[in-house]
Symmetry: C2
Subunit: 486 residues, 2 copies
């Protein structure tokens, strides 16, 4: 009940800072779809993990005195007004870019059947499912990502819709890890997906959306880039060494850990799938390529991977975002279902994890028993981008904004004050009706919430059907007939 | 891939109809906070319920052939574009009214600690918790309502915030029932809550918000009303019969079932708490009162309940919504924590369940081990209101709306087309870039998505740096220099 500090922007920043996922602790605590999450997983032995689980269970939500823990469940966030304004602003940017790109919004239950997410490639995302059995004995999951739900709905809509579909969604995703240290268990994710376009033109559209977003947020291409490759690069290498098709996904998931595990660990994991050491060396060498012409030299120009990538980079020129993207063969992405172009946005200083990631997944629908439809998309989390904006000083100041405060100076005038508030609201004005406060508090309050006007209902004026209006920016004061307030 | 029907509005309605919760099945299948949900609960014997559970488990989400069920988990909804537009429109109305009332938006995790919702009054809401144990052994729940989270955050914010707080939120709520028949397990709810105002002025504000919403939706007071009473009415009756304080909540929860159970069943339940049959008769008689003056006669004018209600009805006159509200002593609401004014909106034809409901809960915070703060609020679900709008023909037609379609007539012109789409988007236009289709399809598509312009990139024009523009409303066609497109 202590008053706010008098400067709204200062207060805003003070309140904002400790809660946003901006510190190094929270940095590790957020995650993004299609990005292998826990690069620190190996740091936790199973022993320490069980210790942490124990600590977890000990901090139960009701103590002996019946006092409820005021924090949300571990790893989850509340959004008090200041953080909610920031989130709404960010989501509005997501929505505006989606509108410009002519994508339609869709949504899904946050609770899905576990079957949608059961994949056998050893992805981290499927190892950290927030899953449980409901009372009907069914395996359900708080979704870790949204693509499978999108695919499910596409199949369900079936022939009633005409392809291509361009859909976006913004929703909460979950993961369960037993470790603690402020790692988050939920985040929000913006997804844009195109179903029904087999050509890289679709990926080119997705990349424009991402670049448009960065531009709207004020982030230049000198701060952020998008690494692009294709899983067909890896496919071509596997073909060169006659490695069987069924190992493809597994190899992708392992290779995605480059940079998180040591080269030796990666080699060991690859060898354990049965690859020859020659093939392993070949894979690792190709993945180190950062130039498309070098790739063409190694794989030959007839290879699909090279043709796709060249086409995509040529589109990038036409769209005008060529300076945002670069070829990097080491980009594979951690999700099992990607089949072609893959990409991820990164900060050029290299401080943060991937900002977003995505790619083509032409064969996901058949894993659900349906006919395949070519598709690609990306997921863009709400965590890393906010870290980056904060770092670059690009987080907007978002104070409250109210049109009018109506304040009766006397309890008997509460009725008339209500009537005035009511009629101003009907005219579209945002009105805060304040009662039982001192005038001094009201003035401070007006400053805090950035009110445009203060409307005082006092006895002497009201007897004449008048109210006193104060314009807070100019400190101008005058009387108006109550009925003539606009 | 079959084309849409050519009339967008017809298609919209056709697609909309079967999915919206409008039929009698779905009518029973939706629910609203602070409204005792399953008036049909007694219709299901435990035998039929276990049969249904069995059926539930049998329809597993993956069949023998690895085909994934394309439906979302039972009782939950997908939102394809048409339904999403409707939901967004409704939520925008919620948000706009909240803005007019100067409420701030907040949000909470959909997953909460079970402890927040454990209450012993026998409320239906706590008997249908969608709860489970997480892998850390903690009892968690998909929240059935949002008020406890709001209270939790108010406690957590503590003295850093100045009262009153006026907060709103829109979020998904869950319940778990073993029965089926299309009953829904999730819905979205708009909540508005005021913390720190002990007087009925706060309730008067909430009622204005509800009325403003109805007015925005085009619903007149001849179609909808708000029944108002106070739990202090029941409190006064209990005092008259010297019934111990600790029975208050339990009696409220039982009495709320009036109209759902028979009078005899209610009487039986009340007797079973230990009330005398005289007290039971007294309660039931008072609850039948529909006039405030009659209530005053029975309880006496010194009683708080009467003073509160008279004050509230006098405010209603000042706000200008007196014709929307009526006193009805039978309104008690089903949630345990209400302490004062309670209200619910209803359709005057009496076909639907409560549209929204709320009331004062001055003693909720102390049940969480904190100091109490006077509070009141309401929950307004997304289901019944849509039924009502549908019934009254007030659901708006919400077709897609796109500014431009850009279409290259030749594959070689895909680059220039991308460039044109890109530059139009940078100017703020919503642009659908279409490729690999026949011109006929493109024209139909333009009609379906309500495009304003069609921009054709053809060889002969492009050689001269021109594109062909067609204004779809007027069928006007002309050539423009590509660089001069606005």
């Amino acid at each position: 009940m202590a008053a706010w500090s008098s400067s709204p922007s200062l207060r805003h920043l003070l309140l904002l800072r400790p809660r946003l996922p901006l510190g190094p602790t929270c940095l590790a605590g957020s995650f993004s779809r299609r990005h292998v999450h826990s690069r620190r997983r190996r740091l936790f032995s199973s022993a320490s993990s069980s210790t942490l689980t124990h600590g977890d269970a000990a901090s139960a939500h009701v103590d002996g005195d019946g006092v409820v823990d005021v924090n949300p469940p571990r790893g989850t966030r509340d959004f008090p007004p200041e953080e909610m304004r920031l989130r709404t602003w960010l989501f509005d940017q997501f929505r505006e870019v989606s509108r410009l790109m002519a994508f339609e919004e869709v949504d899904f239950p946050v609770l899905e059947s576990e079957a949608l997410f059961i994949r056998k490639a050893g992805e981290e995302i499927t190892q950290q499912l927030y899953n449980f059995e409901d009372k009907g004995g069914r395996r359900v999951v708080l979704r870790p990502e949204i693509t499978p739900s999108l695919a499910r709905l596409v199949i369900k809509q079936g022939k009633s819709v005409s392809l291509p579909l361009k859909w976006f969604t913004i929703g909460q995703c979950w993961r369960y890890e037993r470790m603690t240290r402020g790692r988050r268990r939920e985040h929000y994710q913006w997804n844009m997906d195109i179903f029904g376009v087999p050509k890289v033109q679709a990926e080119a559209e997705l990349l424009q959306a991402i670049v448009l977003l960065f531009q709207r947020l004020g982030i230049p291409s000198s701060d952020v880039g998008i690494r692009v490759s294709s899983r067909k690069v890896l496919q071509a290498v596997l073909n060169m060494y006659s490695i069987p098709e069924h190992l493809f996904t597994e190899v992708c998931v392992i290779v995605d850990k480059l940079g998180k595990l040591t080269r030796e660990e990666i080699e060991k994991e690859l060898m354990s799938t049965g690859l020859s050491s020659e093939a392993v060396q070949g894979i690792i060498e190709v993945l180190s390529l950062k130039s498309l012409s070098k790739l063409e030299e190694v794989l030959g120009s007839g290879v699909e991977a090279v043709a796709d990538l060249k086409k995509l980079f040529s589109f990038a020129e036409q769209y005008g975002y060529a300076d945002w993207i670069c070829f990097d063969a080491s980009v594979v992405r951690g999700l099992a279902y990607y089949t072609g172009i893959v990409f991820e946005a990164f900060d050029r200083e290299g401080k943060l994890r991937a900002i977003c990631g995505g790619g083509r997944y032409d064969r996901l629908l058949s894993t659900f028993g349906s006919e395949d439809i070519p598709a690609c998309g990306f997921g863009f989390g709400d965590a890393v981008i906010v870290e980056l904006l904060k770092e670059k000083g690009l987080l907007p100041d978002m104070p409250r904004q109210i049109d009018d405060i109506v304040f009766p100076l006397d309890e008997e005038l509460e009725g008339p004050a209500s009537s005035i508030a009511s009629s101003l609201r009907k005219k579209g004005r945002a009105v805060d009706l304040v009662e039982d406060k001192r005038l001094k508090w009201v003035f401070k309050h007006a400053e805090r919430i950035n009110a445009s006007r203060l409307i005082l209902v006092g006895n002497s004026e009201w007897e004449r059907g008048m109210v006193r209006v104060k314009i807070l920016s100019t400190r101008e004061e005058f009387e108006v007939k109550a009925g003539e307030l606009e």
